[in-house]
Symmetry: C2
Subunit: 149 residues, 2 copies
């Protein structure tokens, strides 16, 4: 099956961003966004394809690429075999990742305000010192998830 239906709010956003990027709204794309929205954590391509029900691999790859260009989803690469995708951060809430070194699973955790403040301060200092202009950041905690510990 095609996973849970899309909320009206999310669908509207999706339509707008796809059109702005010159892309069409199709059933496959709605399914992909719905699957990612329901997961609440980054999914590998095989996980996505399975959750989507019927979906050609090439369509999964192509549509996830299209959705990324439209700013709806975000690709993340770990040391795992497959890339993972999650909803774009402005559709969820800013979060960081817990990556299990044993099973490879990636979980989301909300970003702690104190940590965010420290990251911004560090980025400002770096801009002064090196000229690097920070647009975004990523904090990953690597270790063992509860199940693998």
């Amino acid at each position: 099956m095609a996973g849970p239906a899309l909320g009206a709010e999310l669908r509207a956003l999706m339509t707008e961003r796809l059109h702005r990027a010159g892309q069409r709204v199709t059933a496959n794309r709605e399914t992909l966004v719905a699957v990612l929205a329901a997961a609440g954590r980054p999914l590998t391509i095989p996980e996505i394809i399975e959750a989507a029900g019927t979906l050609a691999q090439s369509s999964a790859y192509r549509n996830l690429q299209a959705l990324e260009q439209a700013g709806l989803v975000h690709r993340i690469v770990t040391n795992d075999d497959f890339a993972r995708y999650e909803l774009a951060e402005d559709l969820t809430e800013h979060h960081h990742h817990l990556i299990c070194r044993s099973c490879g699973t990636v979980e989301d955790v909300p970003a702690a305000p104190g940590l965010e403040r420290s990251v911004r301060a560090a980025a400002d200092a770096i801009a002064r010192d090196t000229g690097f202009h920070t647009q975004h950041h990523r904090v990953d905690l690597l270790g063992l998830c509860r199940r693998c510990a």
Copy 2:
């Protein structure tokens, strides 16, 4: 040529860790470590092979894998085409990465103490809340390097 020679200290560490991992010390491996030590930033495999002078691709991949198992180097994956390697953190000093979204280059920056403290505090809170046991962390700043800005 084979890049700069290895410091005595680093060579001793390298010998010890390779032997402990049941691996031999070879000219190729010394070259690889020397190249990474000289670079001071994560290098892609093509960069490594070029800097090493003469080195079969397969040997590069195999030896970097061996060195990683021995705890001497560390592999990092970006959205770039190639994986990158750098010296293990306990051979350098704990640092974070500046990743340029335009040219893909990765630079090292020393970790700011305040930021480190915040990350540890966040990890502790997460352990309490979710049972995830943090062993290591990664902070990447994404943006534009001075040259691409």
